[in-house]
């Protein structure tokens, strides 16, 4: 499942010339010109007034729209592991939030064959209740029946390694312990479309090896996987395809080795403060990217 499906066999009809429609087999996620623009309330950066009345400040609050993700199209198929790279603030997380359905794109549309599940450790669950109850709550929230929860519980307890502490309320846990618990809960189901956030690589060495094993297991069972990571080594090891997003735009989409090499060059140029060269590099790559058009039938 980890090897790249052969493109020629995947096509039911072969394209005779560039631009001719191609029928793709087994697509699981189709992103059709999805973009995200959000508005935030801001205050002008400089506050020149000293004796300004409070009401005056309120009036000067204004809304700014931020284009987090420019419209982009992608098709991800059965068996693909897609790595997503990009510098901080490039729009990776926005894209992941769109794919899970947590945020709705402001333009375009995203289709999937089943609900994508995101593994992230961004937040604890319900702080006032015990770890045990959080396991039950989380599993029920994922749509399990009480019997299924009890069947899964031993493996969750085993994975989080918090045996003996699960009767304590979550607020008494360290952030590492809470994230281990959340990871164990979130990975207790086997999703068809799986999204893994880079933040999973937290925790001590022992837990990390356990999470790694579980992620590998899930990857093998899942139909397709999205992996967001800053570690290019992880991406190259795990992925069959890499997407590079920068400043909300798709820059590259292709073989892991090729894309990570170009991305590495870009970040190196940037860290050397060679911004012009970095931008030129990015733009030339982007120009050679053939835009994808999705036709529904």
């Amino acid at each position: 499942m980890s090897e790249t499906p052969d493109t020629t066999t995947a096509q039911e009809t072969a394209a005779t010339s560039a631009g001719a429609p191609v029928i793709l087999r087994d697509p699981l996620v189709v992103i059709d010109r999805a973009g995200l623009t959000y508005t935030v309330r801001t205050r002008p950066p400089s506050d020149e007034s000293t004796g300004m009345r409070w009401t005056g400040r309120v009036q000067r609050m204004r809304t700014t729209s931020v284009e987090a993700l420019k419209p982009l199209s992608l098709v991800v198929r059965q068996g693909e592991s897609v790595g997503i790279v990009g510098t901080n603030g490039s729009g990776k997380s926005s894209l992941m939030n769109l794919i899970t359905g947590r945020l709705r794109p402001t333009t375009g549309i995203i289709h999937a064959t089943s609900t994508p599940i995101m593994l992230g450790v961004n937040a604890a669950l319900v702080r006032t209740v015990s770890g045990d109850d959080n396991i039950t709550l989380g599993c029920l929230a994922m749509g399990m029946t009480p019997a299924q929860v009890e069947a899964k519980r031993p493996s969750i307890v085993e994975l989080c390694g918090l045996k003996g502490k699960l009767h304590l309320p979550l607020k008494s846990y360290s952030s590492g312990m809470a994230s281990r618990l959340q990871f164990a809960i979130a990975t207790s189901i086997d999703p068809e479309i799986l999204i893994i956030d880079e933040a999973l690589n937290t925790g001590d060495a022992q837990f990390r090896s356990r999470t790694q094993a579980r992620i590998d297991e899930l990857r093998q069972q899942a139909g397709c996987v999205f992996l967001v990571s800053h570690s290019l080594g992880t991406i190259k090891n795990m992925c069959t395809r890499v997407i590079w997003i920068e400043q909300g735009e798709l820059i590259m989409d292709g073989e892991p080795d090729t894309v990570t090499a170009h991305y590495r060059k870009y970040t190196k140029l940037k860290s050397e403060k060679n911004y012009k060269k970095a931008a030129a590099h990015r733009r030339s790559l982007q120009a050679s990217l053939a835009p994808l058009t999705i036709a529904w039938r």
């Binding site: 709550l137 749509g143 073989e255």
Partner: protein, 297 residues
Amino acid sequence: MSVQDSDSAPAGTDSDVVLIDKRPFVRVGARPNIFRYIGQMWSYRHFILFDARARVAGSAANDALGRLWMLLNPILNGATYFLVFGVLLGTGRGIENFLGYLIIGVFMFRYTTSSVTAGSKAIVGNRPVIRAFSFPRATLAVATNVRELISNIPTFLMMFVLVLAIPPSEPITWAWLLFVPALALNFIMNLGLGLFLARLVARWNDVTHLIAFGTRAWLYLSCVFFSADRFAGNEPLTALMNANPMFCVLDIVRDILLYGGMGDPARWLVLGAWALGALVIGGLVFWQAEESYGREQ
């Protein structure tokens, strides 16, 4: 060209067109129609009950006296109102069994206030769970209301005990069973209001301040510590009072517990209409914004 090897495409390719069969796909995060939504809520009933129960247990953990506050709070409130309105201002003159009248008013009103306030925070108070899992969000509002109902059971029992114990003590009659449908209608109305307000609060957090003010104003306008007889002769005020669902709740419960009646049919009708109307309108309003609750405002 297929999506797979778009990066190796020769420069100058205009555009890749892929044709995709729409049949197996659903839009991610799509809100189901209202009937399917209700069906989904039913399949999440275990989640609702467990969430409600777990939080009742967890909520009192911070106080040394724990759940005793569920009783102490309305008793202290009632004592204050008795001192101010009964003794100092004398609003209770002419009310038969004023102490019982006041106790029912304070205890029942407290249930509605806490339910509506908690229900309105069902989204903003649960963002971590909302971001972590995808499930029908209205389950959170239902769970909050069930939690408030469960945690108010000792309060209701205390209310019965006080009505029986404080002279003139009232006899228990079969009509007391009517307390259950009255409470059920009150619950449905609170749920509807909570759903409606939860959407508003999720969008504009400022609404919480208005809710605090609104419930307070409602308390003063619902004959909690004075009799509706003082409006006799003032048509518009009487009509307004008769249309006030909380006045209906209090009047029905007082009639049942104190005055040996079964509740005025007109009051039951008004309360029933409010309960049904609030649930339908609140439910539809909440459901409409289902896709937006993952977004931070």
